[in-house]
């Protein structure tokens, strides 16, 4: 008979699960906190080409987040050791669902129903985008079995990291680039929250992958397969970038950015960089920096606030402060 275990948070399973749980919780947000309707005027001022690229970028992101929340995270957490790790993954899974919904919050605010339907049709029919999803999904589906080898598990985790740390960014480029130049700024608040989440997801799953990698009898073989997979996705990503960004003249910048993030994904998995990257567009790079920024409370909502975790009550001595006159 199976022995069922309850998750015991009182005993740390490893030195990072608790920390990632806390960080996830702190970063928690829902799309409806934000007010993309402020961007309606900005949206109308954009050229049709930019509007199209923006919509499609978000459409593509929606697909990836859907895959991640419906398949990726549930499959991975089924095979990962450690109940706390599983808990962290399930939290991340929920956030992926919120992400997938929140892109809609943006485009349902600025677009008509007809445009929205057209966009979803595009997502379903675009070969390059479908290729991304299918390629990643293949590795997730390998996890369908009850028990899987460490190789299969590692590749599943690695595919997830590639999705989170690499494939997302051709889509993020557009909203970050626009926001840096004062367009679609309220919507970018949502995008920045997603970027902040994806960045910890990539790091966490990367750490899990590294743990599995250490147990592999023949790690080099797996690494080879990983690089092959990455290159395959990279080729596809270049074509996808051409399709999305050629008309708005950003192709070269986005490709540089794609390479930059491919390197990040490799680093999250504990490997060296693959591509030589020259200068990445500073506007987008700065937009990525999720450190605290200053903002004007009256004109926008901040992305800095987090759920407060440390609720500690006051004691008598807290009132014994000296307030003697300074002069």
């Amino acid at each position: 008979m199976n022995q069922y275990k309850a998750v015991n948070w009182n005993t740390p399973e490893n030195d990072y699960a608790g920390m990632f749980w806390e960080q996830n919780l702190r970063q928690f947000w829902v799309d409806t906190e934000y007010i993309p309707s402020k961007d309606i005027d900005s949206w109308k001022s954009l050229t049709p080409e930019i509007q199209q690229a923006y919509k499609r970028a978000l459409g593509g992101l929606t697909l990836l987040d859907t895959l991640q929340s419906h398949t990726g995270m549930p499959k991975l957490l089924d095979h990962i050791d450690g109940l706390q790790n599983k808990a962290v993954l399930s939290f991340m899974c929920m956030m992926e669902a919120i992400h997938a919904k929140s892109y809609s919050t943006i485009f349902t605010t600025v677009n008509s129903t007809a445009e929205i339907n057209e966009l979803f049709e595009w997502v379903e029919s675009n070969k390059l985008l479908q290729f991304k999803a299918a390629t990643i999904d293949k590795y997730y589906r390998n996890l369908d079995a009850n028990k899987v080898s460490n190789e299969t598990l590692f590749m599943g985790l690695a595919a997830s990291v590639l999705l989170e740390s690499f494939l997302f960014y051709s889509g993020f480029f557009m909203p970050l680039w626009l926001a840096g130049q004062g367009q679609m700024v309220a919507s970018a608040d949502i995008i920045k929250k997603i970027v902040a989440d994806e960045s910890i997801h990539g790091v966490f799953v990367g750490l899990l992958a590294q743990d599995v990698y250490k147990k592999l009898p023949n790690p080099e073989k797996c690494k080879e397969e990983l690089v092959k997979l990455l290159m395959e996705l990279y080729e596809n990503e270049l074509k996808y970038t051409d399709e999305l960004y050629t008309e708005v003249g950003l192709t070269a910048d986005v490709k540089e950015y794609v390479r930059y993030n491919a390197n990040k994904a490799m680093m999250n998995l504990g490997f060296e960089e693959l591509f030589e990257v020259k200068a990445v567009n500073s506007i987008v790079l700065n937009g990525l920096n999720v450190d605290t920024t200053q903002h004007d409370f009256f004109s926008k909502k901040s992305t800095n606030y987090e759920k407060s975790m440390e609720v500690v009550y006051l004691r008598d001595e807290d009132f014994q402060v000296e307030a003697e006159p300074v002069f």
Partner: protein
């Protein structure tokens, strides 16, 4: 749309070489911004005459010829252009052209440079007095004083909004009163005003209406309506309207009020864009300190018992009475827990503001006329207010004081370096007075009445941290306290002197002067026992060449005030000034900076802003506010507060690891140090890198 070169250059500041930011890129960004954008998009005129005439004929400017000859105007232009003004940072130039420079009707071409705006403001406020206009012009082009945005933006323009941007009013506890408030909110918001309301008089959820229990909806539904009102009545789509509401902490809706900012809460009760503030009487702090049971009161039952509104009662005196009166309905809570709840809400949203009612009223010079009951959107305006009685059609309303305030800020660095504290304060007071004179908000009679009778203004200051850094003084040091004590005493002195002179010239004081603490001399007590002068040599050196008022000067001033009165009921208030400090290449207000290069996100742009005068030598003096002990900041503010009749926008900077208890302890400290308010709380996130590197 191609990437804009100047924005890219500005972003490239952040690229690090040998551990140093690429600061020179900012100068390149300014250059590119002018060469590649501003100059190409500025309308060219062959002569000054052609320019002035065109602007007047095309109805961009008002007809300045009603006050000045062309030659007189030319003198002012010459004076200003001779100063060879240059923007010191990209942010300054960008902010000016983005938000302030006059554009043609298509919105594409600039009609003004910085110098032109300065002249237009000066001519407009000068109203035909050429020497006066020149004084304004000199002060503005020297960047010694910066009028608040609406004044700087709208002065001299034919088609423009109002010159004043800050309004406050009470909401009465009946449909007429609530309707009046919403109507005022809409009108004031449409002309560019930020409006703050005191909703403490409104009956709580579940109270009786026409003596039928359980019918009242409480304050939340009104907040919801106000929020929608502000978002509807924006300023011709240029920027969203802004509003705030304040609730007394003893009002039974207080918990619901705080919950409206929660991250995860039902849409019907969630407030996204309306700012909120809590009015905290001393009694509440006392109950928290003693950890005694704390009762919240149902305001309508209080009114029915005493014929007075809950928030007008002196809680020190009346609290016990309210507790023992069985007919006053109440709710028992724990004061410490409520404080922690406030802290928790601040951590999650930055709100609420705190208004320490006792401190605000302690030195209130108009205490015989009325109480200060709440504050504004930036928590620096603190004036008497009283709810108006609004009647049905056909019956006459009883209009009482709302609040209207117009603001401006001294640039501490330039007035100190030019040794012109006295001149700048006096000229600034005159320019603020003109703004009050020509402002007439007839559409909201309570605000109109206050402006007409009280002539309140709010002179503030900016660039404190910049000035200290330039002089290698740490913000948290004793020297900084010493400097602020002397500097703001001087500002206080010269603003009173200027107000007295204006009263003498016009033979008119604010209504109620005779009953004020100025008239009986009580206000001056803190200056009459001992000279305030620098105690530190380094600080004394900074003041060299300027006279520092002594006890004798103060005594003389007090006597002159007794004879001639004061023109302004309220004079000083230190605003947070965000946009305007960028134009001045100054650090904002009297707050410490948050970073050596600030990332500013506005609704319409992201810009990198190296702090003024930043170089490798003074880098160290720009310690981030997030790294400071907030008590040091609060102590400095308490020193300034002694010399400021209204309030100071004070921001708490906290880190993710700070607990609600840590934050609540700042409230306790701020309250004990005599601060009148706390503006919002900012939180710096622990970065993800930091987390991983700490534990993996």
């Amino acid at each position: 749309m191609v990437t804009k070169k100047w924005i890219l250059l500005n972003n490239e500041i952040m690229v690090k070489n040998d551990d140093e930011f690429s600061l020179h890129k900012d100068k390149e960004a300014v250059r590119s911004y002018f060469l590649d954008y501003v100059n190409k998009n500025t309308v060219f005129f062959y002569t000054l005459k052609e320019k002035i005439d065109y602007l007047i004929e095309q109805e961009y400017y008002i007809d300045f010829y009603q006050w000045y000859s062309f030659e007189q105007m030319e003198e002012v232009y010459d004076l200003v252009y001779a100063k060879k003004f240059r923007f010191q940072s990209f942010m300054s130039a960008f902010k000016f052209f983005q938000s302030y420079a006059l554009r043609d009707d298509s919105g594409e071409k600039f009609l003004e440079r910085y110098e032109d705006r300065v002249v237009a403001v000066s001519l407009f406020l000068g109203r035909g007095d050429v020497p006066q206009a020149k004084q304004y012009a000199e002060m503005l082009i020297n960047q010694e004083y910066q009028p608040a945005t609406p004044t700087f933006l709208n002065s001299g323009k034919k088609r423009s909004g109002e010159l004043v941007s800050c309004f406050l009013d009470e909401i009465g506890d009946n449909l007429n009163g609530i309707g009046y408030a919403i109507d005022s909110a809409m009108k004031l918001s449409s002309i560019g005003g930020g409006v703050s309301f005191n909703i403490s008089k409104v009956r709580a959820r579940g109270e009786s209406i026409k003596d039928v229990e359980g019918r009242a909806g409480g304050v939340l539904p009104i907040m919801k309506i106000l929020e929608d009102t502000f978002s509807y009545a924006n300023q011709l789509g240029q920027r969203p309207g802004a509003g705030a509401v304040y609730l007394n902490v003893f009002h039974t809706d207080i918990e619901e009020f705080l919950d409206c900012k929660k991250i995860n809460v039902d849409e019907k009760v969630r407030i996204k864009s309306l700012s909120i503030g809590v009015i905290v009487p001393d009694k509440f702090m006392e109950l928290a300190e003693k950890d005694e049971a704390c009762y919240l009161f149902y305001p309508h039952t209080v009114y029915k018992q005493y014929g007075k509104y809950l928030d007008e009662l002196d809680m020190d005196e009346m609290y016990e009475e309210l507790v023992t009166n069985p007919l006053v309905k109440k709710k028992k809570i724990n004061a410490r827990h409520l404080m922690v709840k406030i802290a928790q809400t601040q951590k999650e949203s930055g709100y609420p503001y705190l208004f320490f009612k006792g401190n605000a009223n302690k030195g209130h010079a108009l205490k015989e006329i009325g109480n200060i009951k709440f504050s504004n959107l930036c928590t620096e305006i603190m004036q008497v207010s009283e709810v108006s009685d609004i009647e049905i059609y056909g019956k006459e309303d009883q209009i009482r004081y709302g609040i209207s305030c117009n603001l401006g800020s001294l640039n501490i660095a330039t007035v100190m370096e030019n040794k012109r504290v006295k001149e700048a304060v006096s000229t600034a007071m005159r320019s603020l007075t003109i703004v009050s004179d020509i402002t007439n908000i007839a559409m909201v009679p309570s605000v109109q009445k206050a402006n007409k009778e009280l002539h309140s203004v709010g002179l503030g200051a900016m660039n404190l941290h910049g000035f200290l850094t330039k002089n290698f003084i740490m913000y948290e040091s004793k020297e900084a306290l010493d400097f602020c004590n002397v500097f703001f005493m001087m500002v206080n002195f010269y603003s009173i002197q200027s107000s007295m002179e204006i009263a003498r010239e016009r033979k008119e004081t604010f209504v109620g002067f005779a009953e004020s603490e100025y008239a009986n001399g009580n206000y001056f007590a803190q200056y009459l026992s001992k000279d305030i002068a620098p105690v530190n040599d380094k600080i004394a050196a900074l003041f060299e060449g300027m006279e520092i008022p002594t006890v004798a000067d103060w005594t003389a001033l007090m006597n002159e005030v007794k004879v001639h009165g004061l023109y302004h009921a309220y004079r000083l208030a230190i605003a947070p000034n965000q946009s305007t400090s960028y134009i001045m290449n100054a650090t904002a207000s009297v707050m410490p900076v948050v970073d050596v290069i600030e990332v500013r996100e506005y609704g319409d742009s992201t810009t990198y802003y190296p702090m003024p005068y930043l170089d490798n030598d003074n880098y160290f003096f720009y310690k981030s506010a997030y790294d400071m002990d907030q008590k040091n900041v609060l102590r400095l503010i308490s020193v300034i507060q002694k010399h400021v009749d209204q309030g100071i926008s004070t921001i708490l900077h906290t880190n993710t690891k700070d607990s609600t208890r840590d934050i609540a302890k700042y409230y306790i400290y701020a309250h004990k140090m005599g601060l009148k308010s706390l503006y919002y709380t900012r939180t710096r996130k622990a970065s993800i890198d930091e987390c991983v590197s700490c534990s993996v």
